[in-house]
């Protein structure tokens, strides 16, 4: 899994691509611990074509920290397979989910 981040206005855009499953989840976990993501964050999942419960768990962890710090978190570009995981677990209720990154950054 490839991870990159950039700034867009006062948002940080964290872009993930590839497989986010139990095998690649630790890689994202350590990346998040090493990097400072305070402030408003948008996670772009456009290039994520497979998400499992471990990947979901990490995203929910981010949501919890953002909520605790009263900071904004948005997800963007979820394809149907990724959306399905959020829906069947009801995790969608924890996230603001956008079609596109720039609409999220408005």
């Amino acid at each position: 899994m490839k991870i990159s981040s950039k700034k867009l206005g006062d948002y940080t855009i964290l872009s993930l691509s590839g497989i986010l499953n139990a095998s690649s989840a630790p890689q994202l976990k350590s990346y998040l611990e090493e990097t400072d993501f305070s402030g408003s964050l948008i996670i772009d999942l456009e290039l994520v074509d497979f998400l499992d419960s471990s990947g979901l768990g990490i995203l929910v962890g981010i949501a919890r920290r953002k909520k605790a710090a009263n900071e904004i978190l948005k997800l963007a570009n979820l394809n149907d397979r990724v959306k399905k995981v959020f829906e069947i677990t009801q995790a969608y209720t924890l996230f603001d989910i956008y079609d596109e990154v720039n609409a999220a950054a408005e």
């Binding site: 829906e87 069947i88 596109e100 720039n102 609409a103």
Partner: protein, 427 residues
């Protein structure tokens, strides 16, 4: 032109109470779900792309609609938060909006429209913003404000949101939709105005159909019934002999008994509701009103066969000796034997020994032990009252639809008992 349908999870709780276990938008009115009427409006307005967004669970909606191919629509889904404003919803669905004019149906169950009028210009040329609202649901236009080349078109087509927040209002709207059937796309074949009949509908002789009437699929209307005017009969429904259904709604999977009068009521499964008084009665008497459970699954077929073979085995053991003992005394089972043999033949039949040879066919699986024709024992024999073949068929229809594998055992005992009391001529 596209349509965005916003479903608020906590809305329409009155519908959840009245028709539990169903998503409010999938509840039917005039035999068609609310959502499908919204799809019809969208199609008539020229919007083939539809997105359904909800702040609640959409599994049921997704399973019902899939990608919308069934209606020639392209349906996508998205989730929103309970607190989202219209602008936030717009932002979250930006790719769907994509500089198009969007008809937003927010928290709506039904829109009154007329399929013979044209809505495309009217909706395209109206300005962005609220078009209609009744305080609960609303229709508004969003997305690109088309500097339309068309001026504001002449008269606006008929479009309104009915009051729909209680059972009486549901009941009144249902009757109104049926009365104005030509404005909507009502399901069923309609060879004449005000009459819509579904597939696989059997209307027996002596039945009177008074328009306007709509009947769903897989429906049996037994002889002597009067249906209508203003009757909505759902799918998989049986209306038994000489019953009257007028100004009423019989929801799907409902059995209405014999010589009854359903007038200005709603019958759903074994529940009878009076929209006028709000009264609701859960009937325990299956012969009056009951729910028709759907056909058994593969699993039930296998279990049923097992139950039948086991019961046949027990019967075989119980009847073996009496059969061997009495059989020689009973000539060919000729009806009306005289004197001594007659009495033995009668005893022979009353113990159902005449059916003994057929048990082997149950073991081989070629014949059911009990069921509708053909079977060793017919469901009709579990009741005393059937006089003719028609009565027998009704009992069997009712039993088949309501039967489950283990239910066959008490029915078998009843059949054996009836034959013992020889209430039924030794047929």
């Amino acid at each position: 032109m596209k349509t965005l349908i916003i479903i608020r999870e906590n809305a329409h709780s009155w519908l959840r109470d009245t028709f539990p276990g169903q998503h409010p938008l999938l509840v039917r009115i005039c035999n068609k779900s609310f959502l499908e009427f919204l799809f019809d409006f969208s199609i008539i307005a020229g919007a083939r792309e539809v997105r359904i967004v909800s702040d609640g669970d959409m599994a049921e909606i997704r399973d019902f609609c899939h990608d919308g191919g069934r209606w020639g629509l392209n349906i996508s889904y998205a989730t929103i938060q309970k607190s989202d404003t219209i602008t936030q919803i717009n932002n979250k669905n930006r790719r769907f909006y994509a500089a198009e004019r969007i008809i937003v149906l927010d928290n709506l169950l039904f829109i009154e429209f007329n399929k013979n009028e044209s809505y495309t210009e009217y909706l395209a040329s109206s300005h962005v913003g609220m078009l209609l609202s009744n305080g609960q649901g609303s229709v508004y236009l969003d997305g690109a404000d088309q500097q339309s080349i068309l001026e504001q078109c002449g008269s606006s087509p008929h479009i309104s949101i009915p009051e729909l927040g209680s059972l009486p209002e549901y009941f009144r709207l249902s009757a109104e939709i049926l009365r104005q059937g030509s404005r909507y796309i009502l399901p069923g074949y309609s060879n004449e105005d005000g009459c819509y009949i579904g597939r696989n509908v059997v209307i027996h002789k002596g039945v009177e159909i008074k328009k306007p009437v709509i009947i769903g699929n897989n429906v049996q209307i037994m002889p002597g019934c009067v249906i209508g005017p203003e009757a909505v009969i759902g799918s998989t429904v049986i209306i038994d002999r000489e019953s009257l259904v007028t100004g009423s709604i019989v929801m799907h999977n409902t059995f209405v008994g014999e010589q009854l009068e359903v007038k200005n009521k709603i019958a759903s499964g074994n529940r009878l509701m009076d929209p006028a008084t709000g009264a609701s009665l859960q009937l325990v008497d299956a012969h009056l009103l009951s729910e028709i459970t759907s056909e058994g699954t593969v699993y039930e077929g296998i279990v049923r066969r097992l139950v039948h073979v086991l019961a046949a085995l027990l019967l075989f053991i119980a009847q073996l000796l009496p059969y061997l003992f009495l059989r020689p005394f009973v000539g060919e089972p000729v009806a009306g034997g005289t004197g001594h043999e007659h009495k033995t033949a009668q005893l022979f039949n009353r113990l159902s020994l005449d059916r003994f040879p057929q048990l082997f066919r149950v073991f081989s699986g070629s014949l059911r032990l009990i069921g509708s024709q053909p079977a060793v024992f017919r469901y009709a024999e579990t009741e005393e009252w059937p006089e003719n073949e028609m009565d027998a068929r009704i009992v069997e229809q009712f039993c088949t639809l309501h039967s489950h594998p283990f239910g066959d055992i008490p029915l078998l005992l009843k059949a054996l008992l009836n034959r013992k009391e020889s209430k039924i001529a030794a047929s």
